[in-house]
């Protein structure tokens, strides 16, 4: 593995010269997670916030699968099939959460005629 000054300054770039391992999947999961968090904070549309949550859950799922992958993180530290089970439960919970959140968004829209989350200030003290 080459380790120049450039790679020392940016350790994440060092991954590009290595074969695919769990760290690569973790980088993709981190990017998805960050995009989801930024989408949750930036979007004013309630459905946009919901899409940000889906992105966050997908980033977490990618981490679970990468840690449990038999070919990637083999050895005693692998999660094995447990990673896939947990990711499956996360997918089911995300589907349930999306259903409830969309029902709430529809209810909100019926009452306020908008899905702008900044307009939901009925509970302000």
């Amino acid at each position: 593995m080459q380790s120049g000054g450039f790679y020392d300054a940016l350790p994440a770039m060092n991954l590009l010269s290595q074969p695919i391992g769990p760290a690569h999947y973790l980088v993709v999961g981190a990017i998805l997670f960050t995009c989801g968090v930024v989408a949750m904070t930036v979007k004013r549309n309630a459905i946009g916030v919901l899409m940000g949550i889906e992105l966050v859950l997908n980033g977490a799922n990618l981490n679970f699968v990468a840690f449990g992958s038999p070919g990637l993180a083999g050895g005693p530290h692998s999660l094995g099939l447990d990673g896939q089970w947990i990711a499956m439960f996360v997918i089911v919970l995300a589907a349930a959460e999306a259903a409830v959140a969309l029902a709430i968004a529809l209810c909100f829209y019926r009452n306020f005629a908008t899905v702008d989350v900044d307009r939901g200030e009925e509970l302000h003290g």
């Binding site: 994440a12 695919i20 760290a23 690569h24 980088v27 981190a30 968090v37 459905i47 990637l72 089970w85």
Partner: protein, 217 residues
């Protein structure tokens, strides 16, 4: 060697598509375009699942997310996005704040990844061999959900091993009941409200118009 090369190619393809479209979800202003970018990103993540050897999970991701949740989201967009409200703009200051937050969060996460993930050199060299000997994990996943955790075939013939870890039967039941309760609750929340008679008049324009005509006369 060839297998690992194609693995690399497809990994970077899928990872690029997933990250690029996730960024497009953040940057897009239109809700419908955001939904499309989200579909593409989730499908690319499903491809990454296939690459990581989780075939059943990749298929489940395609079916549940791309087939189910995104249809639900599209219906939500269609039912709520009306008029100019479909693209609600965010102020410039908030974009700067969000970029700062996202950049710092990404820096922290990448630092952690580099420290935790470690190089995949030795593991990835055995990737091809693992993929050749690897059987589909669907049966083991289903057995685990029923509470039976199958042992690796190599250890089954050995001397009596310690009892295997319990499966996920209880979690499976809890998740099932949770899903049922959630669906009933969502249907209850999103039901058509019982309307009072004066709002019933607003809801039927021809009736209201005829009533107005009769009162005018």
């Amino acid at each position: 060697m060839d297998i690992t090369l194609w693995h690399n190619v497809f990994f970077f393809l899928m990872a690029g598509v997933a990250c690029g479209t996730a960024l497009a979800v953040v940057l897009a202003g239109n809700v419908v375009r955001m939904a499309f970018y989200l579909i593409t990103s989730l499908a690319a993540v499903a491809g990454l699942f296939f690459l990581a050897g989780a075939q059943f999970l990749g298929a489940m991701q395609l079916m549940v997310y791309v087939g189910g949740t995104l249809v639900l989201l599209a219906f939500g967009v269609m039912l709520t996005a009306r008029g100019p409200l479909s693209s609600m703009r965010t102020g410039g200051g908030q974009w700067v704040l969000a970029a700062l937050l996202g950049g710092s969060l990404l820096a922290v996460l990448l630092q952690t990844v580099v420290q935790v993930g470690g190089p995949g050199g030795e593991a990835a060299s055995t990737l091809a061999a693992a993929e050749e000997t690897q059987s589909p994990t669907t049966a083991q996943l289903g057995l685990g959900l029923l509470g039976v955790r199958s042992q690796p075939p190599g250890q089954a013939l050995a001397r009596p091993a310690p009892p295997p870890a319990p499966g996920y039967l209880l979690v499976f039941e809890i998740i099932s009941v949770h899903l049922l309760v959630v669906l009933v609750g969502a249907a209850y929340l999103a039901r058509a409200k019982w309307r009072r008679p004066e709002r019933l008049v607003i809801h039927h324009p021809p009736l209201a118009a005829s009533q107005q005509l009769t009162t005018d006369n």
